[in-house]
Structures are given as structure tokens and as C-alpha cells.
Point group: C2
């Protein structure tokens, strides 16, 4: 079985990284809509149009299942992707919600993400639907994305930024925090240190990779690595490869620029 | 005379703010390509295509002169705008270079901007062309944009970020620094404090507004304000109005969503 992974930019490569560990021999195609990143600041209509174009892109390619790594698309346009792609579609919100429900004892859960993800309240709605007594404290953390992309993942600046963003979660006494953005795993250490050892972190990239492993029918072949990956971007300008490899934690294999919505 | 002002997002509203002070009664139309912001991370080809679409947009409207407030477009696609728009076209790089040359004594000039602007070396090339002995120290400061948009413009976080970004400029002993991004005027205080009182700051938004005043033929009427402004965006989602008013320093007048490249 082969999986397509879709995100607005490089962030979804943390999902590819998590998949690679679980399914080393499986063929993966990654699409980063880097010409139109970030989705988190767009209107819902715009995000839904982009999501339909991504589904059409994978429909035309040899991909059996599709993982929506973009929290914004997962939150506001998953139905569009499901209508536009014939195979199984996984998103990051539902696995993140399930993992948070399994992790929390008190039912007090923090959710951090982009402004669009937090405004959508997709995680909060999922948590409260399964556990009506859940107390969900959400916080948008816009600076975490550029910090991750700059590689400023430790030291005083990310520590102060994390302290400022996470203060309401600490005050609310959450025992679990969902990293509701695929960029945030790069800041996992500083987020964890800020929240303290009693707070469990749920990484939605890891959570969706666990689900994908369970849904992968063909046995994984041995080996694996970049020869089984194809990375598509809509704009390969700037320092794309350098930043992408920081997210993937490994060299990028085949890289190809494509046009969506044509 | 009426001016159009074009930027990829909200940043160019600092140019509108500077124009409003100098030309209170003049009609202004602002276009922010918020559906595709930020341009600073796109490839040159993509930026040139977007710039051509913006020129076509203003060509179809009742606008006599055009100000390219986007440093990225000024640096890599000004010729495209000039070919696509019949009236005078001002950019932010040339006025910024001229103001820096007037301000510096030692010829040691710092330039800060987005990664794309810094990679283009547009300010550096302009400075060295006019003053071959100039020493130009450039630095991309990607976190300044989200700090400005978050409104984190004073306190410890912006101070630490500024110290980290500006250290090479201070070590090089520059006596003048160009704010080569329309977002940066919001961080002017913290940038100025970090560099110290002996370093002059050149704000390219102010510099281009000075040039526009000199090129405006009809006398400014008295009064002015938002009734003379029309703000067009390609995506009005998220907290656009709130962030935009922080940049403009005043309420936004008429706001309309438009489609480019159609």
C-alpha cells in the first residue's frame, strides 16, 4: 500500500518522518503547497478550494491512501478531501483527539495550534463529544512556526515565547497538551520543559502515523528510505530543502515542483 | 492625483500611514495579496507572476501612480510592474537606498529584511552602486514579521530576538540601518534601542512616502482620512482587520475582497 501525505508547507514532513519509522518500506508521496503556505491565515472558502485541488492531485497519481497532515485542512475541509479522493483519508485531528483522550486523567486538556486551527475548535469539539466533562483550554501560537523554521528550537527565545503562550494552559492545570500543528514537534523539548514533567504531550503527527500503520494492508518490505519517497512542492524557492530536511530529520529524496489548480 | 499601494499582506499599510500624514486629501487604493502572503518565501518566477497580476489590477482601476510597498517585489519584479502599469511606479528600495546614503557618514550600512529581500541584495547593490566604498551588512530577520503581526513589539521577547538578529550589524559598526521590510516600522523602538542611539534608522516606508509627495501633482485638499481610501485584499479571513488597523494606526475604511489572476 502507498500513502500520500498533504500539507500546506514543510510541516507535514514530521508525519512522513513518523511514518518512515513505522512503515519503512512503504511508498510515500508528499505534497507541500509551498506556493500558498500558510493556510492557517486564509479564509475557510480559500482553504476548501486548495484542499479540493490537493485531493485531485493525488487522485491522478498512484496513491492508495491519503493523510491530511495539515491541521487547518483537517479542521475545516476534510469533507472536501474525502469527496475528492476515492481511497481512505486520514486526518490529524481525530487521531490527536483519540490520543489525548487516552492520555488525560483529569479531562483537562490543552490544545495549541495555528490561529485557524484554534478558531475552528476542531480538537475541542472532538474532545467534548467523546468526553462531555472535558475542559479544553486552547491557545494559538503563531510564533512557533517561524521559530521551528528558523531552527531556533532551544535557548532563551523559544523558552520565553513558550512561557508566554503556555501560561494559560499551566494556570488551568491541564494534564495533557495536544501539539495541534505539524511544526510543533520540533519545539517538543522546550514545550515539554515549560509545561513540566506532569503534563503529557500528544503529537498528532505520531498519532496519525499509528493509525496509518494499522490501516496499511500490504506488509512493509525491509529497508526503505528516500528511494520510496517522492516530494512534490508548488514552490521550491528559498531555503526549502534545508528547512525541509530539518523537519524530515533526513535528506529529501526526489523533489519535484508542480502546479495545483491548473 | 491618486496612488495605488501594493503589498503581499498588511505590511504596506505602514506606507499608507506615511502617505496619509504627507498627503491627507489624496485618494489611495491599497491592495494586499493576503491570500498568497508571504511573498518573501516564494521563488522569483512566482513573485513575478503575482506582480504582473497586481499591475493588471491597478491598470483596470482609477489609479494614476503605483507604489510597490513590497520589498520582495521591489527587489525581484519591479520591471514586471513597470511594464504592466502605464503611470509612474515607485518602489521602496530606491528611496530606502537614497535615504541611507544621505544618513550614513562612515559608509557602513546595515540592511534588514525578509530572506528573499536579503538574498536579492537589492539594497546592497544600490548602496554600492552609488558609493563603491560602502560596507553593507545584511541580515534576514524572519521572526520580526510574526512579532509585528502578534503585536509583540516591546518586552523581553522582541528584545532578545532583535539582539540576536542585530548582533552582526553592531559588531560591524554600522552607523545606519535600513528597515527593509514594511512590517519593521512597528518594531522601530526595540530595533533602535538594540542598535543604540548612534545608529540612524532608515524607514523605507517613510522614504517612499517622501518621494510620492514630491511626485504628486494635484494639491492635497484639506481633511482626508478613511473616506479617501479603499482597501482591497485577496483574503479577508482571520484577524485581518485587527492586524491591519495595528499597521495603519487607524480604522480601516472600505474593505473589499477581490480575486487576482482571474
Amino acid at each position: 500500500m502507498s500513502w500520500g501525505v498533504f500539507d500546506s508547507g514543510v510541516g507535514g514532513l514530521t508525519v512522513v518522518r513518523a511514518l518512515r519509522r513505522r512503515l519503512p518500506g512503504v511508498r510515500l508521496a508528499y505534497l507541500g503547497d509551498t506556493a500558498r503556505v500558510p493556510y492557517g491565515i486564509r479564509s475557510v472558502d480559500t482553504v476548501r478550494r486548495y484542499a479540493a485541488e490537493a485531493a485531485a492531485f493525488f487522485r491522478r497519481r498512484d496513491v492508495e491512501g491519503l493523510i491530511v497532515a495539515c491541521n487547518t485542512v483537517s479542521a475545516v475541509a476534510l469533507d472536501v478531501v474525502e469527496q475528492g479522493f476515492p481511497g481512505p483519508v486520514l486526518d490529524v485531528v481525530r487521531p490527536g483527539v483519540a490520543a489525548a483522550l487516552a492520555a488525560t486523567r483529569s479531562g483537562r486538556v490543552g490544545v495549541i495550534g495555528t490561529p485557524a486551527t484554534i478558531r475552528s475548535d476542531a480538537y475541542g469539539a472532538g474532545l467534548r463529544a467523546a468526553r462531555p466533562d472535558a475542559v479544553v483550554v486552547s491557545r494559538a501560537c503563531p510564533l512557533f512556526v517561524p521559530l521551528a523554521e528558523e531552527g531556533w528550537v532551544d535557548g532563551e527565545v523559544p523558552r520565553l515565547v513558550a512561557r508566554r503562550y503556555l501560561a494559560p494552559l499551566i494556570e488551568a492545570g491541564v494534564d495533557t497538551v495536544v501539539l495541534g500543528c505539524t511544526h510543533y514537534p520540533l519545539l517538543r523539548d522546550v514545550i515539554g520543559e515549560t509545561l513540566g514533567p506532569d503534563v503529557r504531550l500528544v503529537d498528532s503527527a505520531e498519532a496519525v502515523a499509528d493509525v496509518a500503520r494499522g490501516r496499511t494492508t500490504a506488509p512493509a518490505t525491509s529497508g526503505g528510505g528516500t528511494e520510496h519517497e517522492h516530494c512534490f512542492v508548488t514552490d521550491a524557492g528559498g531555503a526549502f530543502r534545508e528547512v525541509a530536511e530539518r523537519f524530515l530529520g533526513a535528506p529529501i529524496g526526489r523533489l519535484e515542483q508542480v502546479e495545483l489548480g491548473a
